[in-house]
Amino acid sequence: QQAIKGKVSDSNQSGLPGVNILLKGTSKGTISDASGNYSINATKGATLVFRSLGYATKEVVVGDQTSIDIVLETSDKTLEEVVVTALGVAKDKKSLGYAVSELKGTEFTQAREVNLGNALSGKIAGVNATSTATGPGGSSRVIIRGNGSLGGNNQPLYVINGVPIDNTNVNSAGMWGGFDTGDGLSSINPDDIESISVLKGGASAALYGSRAGSGVILITTKSGKAQKGLGVDFTSTYTAETPLKISDWQYQYGAGTRGAKPATQQEAIDNGVMSWGAKLDGTSVIQSDGVSRPYVAQKDNIKNFYNVGSTFSNTVAVSGGNQTVNFRFSASNSDAQSVVPNSTFSRKSFNLSTNANLSNKVVFESVMQYNIENGENRTFLSDTPKNPNFAAQMLATSTDIRILAPGVDSRGYESLWNSNVYSQNPYFATTKVKNTDDRNRFMGNFSLRYNLTDNLYVRGRLGTDYNQLKYWSIEPTGIAYSTRGSLSQSTRKIVETNAELLVGFKKDFDQISLNALIGGNKMLRTNEGQGISGGQFNVPFNYFPSNLITSNWNYDYTKLGINSLFASADLGYKNLVFLTLSGRQDWFSTLAKENNSLFYPGASLGFVFSDAMAERPSWLTYGKLRTSWAQVGGAYPTPYALNLTYGLQSNPYNGMPLMNIGTNTIPNKALQPNTTTTTEIGVELKTLNNRLGIDLTLYNRVTTNDAVQASTSSASGYQAVLLNVGKVQNQGIEVLLTGTPVKAASGFGWNVSYNFAYNDNKVIKIADGLTALSMDESRTRNGYVYNFEGQPFGMIAGYRAKRDAAGNIVYNKDTGLPMQGEFAALGRGVPPVTMGLTNTFNYKNFQLSFLIDAKFGGMLYSATNAFATRYGLAQRTVANDVRTTGVTVKGVDQNGEAFTKTISAQDYFSGISTTITDEFVYKADFAKLRQLTFGYTFPKSMLGKTPIQSLSLSFVARNLLMLYNSVPNVDPESTYNNGNAQGLEMFGIPTVRSFGLNLMAKF
């Protein structure tokens, strides 16, 4: 052993702080201090590895010297990339036998989305990120390599600094409306992110256990580094958001019915959403407020109703440290104003990251994050009650939405604009209907590592994610469908803790390196909710629980646990061949004792063949093959699903308790664990001296024994049954092309990155005797999402017009409307093809970057279009002069007789809008200019003697242009929740385009 001292510098001879210096093949190491100095004990012949982000890693063999100074060269070579993999272990990307994609924090900090999930769209091959039409702070859906489970959670496991977090979407809109209060991801402040690693396949995920079957997204937050004095980072972003009017309605006919204008106020109200009136002729016509105005087209209702929204985010981070202790603390505030009036989301987050080398043997690490989030008046979506989007989008063509303001009459009651009391006045919905959600969240982990020897260590880690949510919502006094109002107030607490203990061993033997570990994890998750809800305020306009005339309380509690043992070993041979073996045994509390445990193994192999070639062809800079096979086990995630239970109603009948069967799902004692098996093979090639790279992966992923919550006929007495034989296969290809077409001496550079993924998905089996599985239903009760045996996951389903054997449409002779054919699949709800293209141009201190994001092959059932057809807004309701000629149908009647009839356009289109689903199922292909940033980094010379070390300013924009859209009148990305059933759309918030400025300064 000898003490070695030295200094690490960059090519400009300035000391480099925070460089990792590792004794190769061991877990021993140190970090350079603020001036780049370090010291370490090593034996002669040992290898020191110097590693720092952005620099090429260097290795030095220790000889007799006691001082080693090192110069690190900057690097843009991705092959030297270090990525964070399972259990937070940083590995050379080179050594992996499976696909990992990594994104740097800056990808999310310039042109930002409030929800991180949305920002992933188009950036990684095989990751299908879908944003929803829910407004700021809403949830997103991220799917890696397709949907593997028929009914379970198909979203990846999110892990922050090694500890899983909760990503539950507690409230979302469904068939009956509702609003979205975001998911776990919406708590993450982009400015704290150092990097995000996406572990796509099972091999990489096996060590995370059962919840990793759908992949893992690892988020590493920034940490402090040894440096001189305090470092201060300040980031500020302001963006303005404007709603896009995508709808293109007919503007020839106005409000009314059967070709007539409303003649009285009552008629105007009855036909509030009906554009079946007369030709717009500019005459004076009475409207729902009793005032007569010119009968002319109103094309600006979207612009006139929605606001310009905004997002303003500021983060200050201070960091510092020395050789022993490093820290980083950040405080951040983000305020978002939705385009929907009075709807806001704010997030304050505080993050403290500490690491300490308490002695040569003891290393302590901790990251703590505390969040305070507040959503006000989240927007109701889908069904019409309390949903302002309905009126904004469906109002009769001749009505200016502003005449509905202020939405209340002199008593403070909702002013009616439409005879359906469940269709809210949009101004009433945005000013009087109230809801609030508050989230207090603590995420923390502490880990202590003790190095028993140079090669052997133990590490204990405790992590928790403590989520306290509070909801408050009112239907105010005077709301048309329930004028005495109602209120609900509830709290929910979701707590997940993970305790992990592991023993690691790391040693290099001659040409073989070994990195092995064995450990155990204990996971506990509780979910507790309680609340009070009730109707009828005793004193109107006063909204608190004791003012309710009737009230109900509720309480629910679930608890589940998973205990695990795991082991893994990484073997390297000559730094050319890498083999990883892993295995895990889980015990699940949600299954019966006989079936509650499962062992699942994995193996992966990486081979850097370019380094093994005696004579490498000149065009080949780097080449690697990788292959892996792995299983991930899982279990039904909901406790108490094995036995039938009974519950009591909170209000008895005249003193007599009311007891009913407490579940709508038929329980199943015999549930088994499920298994996801992934096989993948990939190749990475770099050519033209790293100017062009290709990364290609083929995978096959099969989920078996999937627990399926299958819908049953309501005549069974239940809505669903838990079954356990589902089998789903995903096969696909992922391609990443990276290139540097221009790298001029003038400083002009052009980088291109293109990713493409195709995922072919097939539901192989649902359950014995069950070939179709309902997943969701549109509020129209005419559009569905189903899984059908033998077809891709998540098919949009419904009805086509019935046809006889000769192909004639069968009409109901009483009405002249087509009869419904049998229930059938109509198209994929999930697009199989996703791609993204990023171009980045650098010139001196300027950088321009844009991302084009596209998806193909999916379909959308558009309830907005179905309603627009029913209400006479859609273009087809005026095409070919059908309003005057009527629609002539020709075919056969239900008795098989030849049939022809001319019926009014209003009857025809109203009729088909609720019965013939496939009239409103569209290809949902799109290409969007998703993101554009144009930045300028101020040169050091300009900053001069100011305390500012670096400063950059960028113009940023999101969702700039819809380059291609195959759905009429709506954005294909308009689904109203992030659930498994994608492909249904109805009255979401319009897509917004955002522009703004981003400032980053370092002091």
Partner: protein, 501 residues
């Protein structure tokens, strides 16, 4: 490694074994319905089809024979999930246990009641395999033919009523209908057998006769004390009358809408009550002022000012019918009286003694009874008027005498007598529109004039059934398609087995 997991996976907030009494009470309360299906099926479809109610609003699909999937599906969905589910569970838990013989047989009677309403609304429906999702793992129950369902319901009622054992425990006071009075349960079983037996007159007169006779011999209801009803209390939705409460909150909202309500009483109904000088009229009907303020009873429920709305119109088309119509005209039309027949505390009538007397009158006419048609008619009318005390109304006996004097049992013809009985049956089943709709389809009385609103789903004829939920076409496709193959297209105009043309 799984210590404590069994405990962890046991729900601390639920029971693993039921208290049968409490489940039975729940079942009865839910059979009286929730605001959901009561509004959609009982009021909007059946209530308007039989022209008790009328509306200018297009969501009143039954008024205009429009197709609204939400509304025609409502009873099917809630019926199986709120009613069938628990009654099947009770039956499975009590069957074969001699100590529970009364619990079992009362449950069988109630089960027959539940399914009879279901099949009368839709025709062929899941029956033999229904409600068996947990008990027998049947997730896609087949649709039984209505003929088979009726045969079994009648047989069940027969067996259950004769198996009831006096002196043995039943549900005690947890039985909110008869407080476990076995005699009354027997009478109800036979009265229901009388109702269902009579339902078969068009399709199978022989069976009808057999069961009507059997029911009479077994002993039917004898007075208003025997009425099968659920009392209500104005405390919360598990206690309120949810037909009345739905009218109050969803339709009339008198204090707010001031008579511009979404629906009104039908002209057909109000005209009949007025023409026959029915003493029940003030308690059935009122102008909106009476619903806003009960103390205006004398003026707002004055029979002379009651006015029914014609069926089948909207705010535009009504102007062609009623000259001078304006937006305020609607306020002068009658609403159901929320202080009496449609109050939050009005009992839900499952079957009334008056109905039984009307059926006995019909049986007499058909020669299946005691031959005393007029006497049964008179008793029925007297009971139907006297029953209003249960709604808080005090109609003196003299009013009944006067009514019978003005509306004596006709002697014109048997057909006219049938019409008179069926029309009274239609009146007494106000707010039990399921039954009113079924009896109208069977008898054709009262004669209702169909409407022909533009865009209606029946070609301007009165519906003969409700359509199956769309969810059945998707979630239970094979059985649904088989049902259509056996019964006919899934249309409002398709007639069910007992509704033979």
């Amino acid at each position: 490694c799984d210590d404590g997991f069994v405990d962890m996976n046991t729900n601390p907030n639920a029971l693993t074994s039921p208290v049968l009494e409490n489940v039975f009470t729940y079942n009865i309360v839910k059979t009286a319905g929730t605001g959901y299906e009561n509004h959609r099926a009982n009021l909007i479809y059946c209530g308007a089809i039989v022209q008790h109610f009328a509306s200018l609003n297009t969501y009143w699909s039954g008024d205009k024979y429009l197709s609204n999937v939400e509304y025609y599906s409502a009873y099917f969905d809630t019926g199986y999930q709120n009613q069938v589910k628990e009654i099947e569970q009770i039956i499975s838990l009590t069957k074969g246990d001699n100590n529970l013989v009364n619990k079992y047989n009362i449950a069988r009677i109630w089960r027959a009641y539940i399914y009879s309403r279901m099949t009368d609304l839709y025709g062929d429906v899941p029956y033999s395999q229904a409600g068996q999702g947990y008990l027998n793992n049947v997730y896609s129950p087949k649709y039984d033919k209505q003929s088979a369902i009726y045969a079994d319901l009648l047989n069940e009622l027969d067996q259950a009523s004769t198996s009831l054992a006096a002196g043995k425990d039943a549900y005690g006071t947890a039985d909110p209908i008869y407080a476990s009075d076995i005699t009354k349960w027997k009478r109800f079983a036979n009265s229901l057998m009388l109702r269902l037996g009579m339902r078969l007159t068009k399709v199978d007169a022989a069976s009808a006769q057999t069961y009507v006779k059997k029911a009479i011999a077994g002993g039917v209801m004898q007075s208003n004390d025997d009425i099968a009803k659920l009392k209500h209390y104005d405390t919360n939705d598990n206690n309120r009358n949810l037909d009345g409460n739905t009218l109050k909150t969803q339709e009339y909202d008198a204090a707010n809408l001031k008579g511009k309500a979404n629906s009104k009483l039908s002209k057909t109904f109000v005209d009949f009550l007025q023409k026959s000088a029915d003493p029940r009229l003030p308690y059935i009907a009122t102008l909106w002022q009476g619903n806003a303020d009960a103390s205006t009873f004398a003026t707002s429920s004055d029979p002379a000012v009651q006015k029914g709305l014609p069926n089948g119109y909207d705010n535009t088309t009504i102007k062609t019918l009623i000259p001078g119509w304006n937006d305020n005209s609607i306020t002068t039309y009658s609403e159901a009286n929320l202080n009496y027949v449609a109050s939050n505390t009005a009992p839900t009538m499952f079957q009334t003694y008056a109905e039984v007397e009307y059926l006995l009158a019909e049986a007499a006419l058909r020669g299946w009874g005691d031959g005393q048609a007029a006497a049964h008619y008179n008793k029925g009318v007297a009971a139907a008027i006297d029953m209003f005390s249960l709604y808080g109304a005090n109609i003196p006996a003299s009013a009944t005498t006067a009514y019978l004097a003005k509306n004596p049992f006709t002697t014109v013809s048997t057909e006219k007598q049938m019409e008179q009985i069926a029309t009274q049956y239609w009146v007494v089943n106000f707010l039990n529109s399921y039954e009113a709709f079924a009896n109208w389809r069977r008898t054709g009385y009262p004669v209702l004039t169909p409407t022909n609103y533009a865009g209606n789903d029946t070609g301007g004829t009165i519906p003969r059934r409700l359509k199956y939920p769309q969810s059945e076409a998707s979630k239970n496709a094979a059985q649904y398609n088989a049902a259509i193959a056996q019964q006919g297209p899934d249309l409002f105009t398709t007639r069910m087995w007992w509704d033979k043309q």
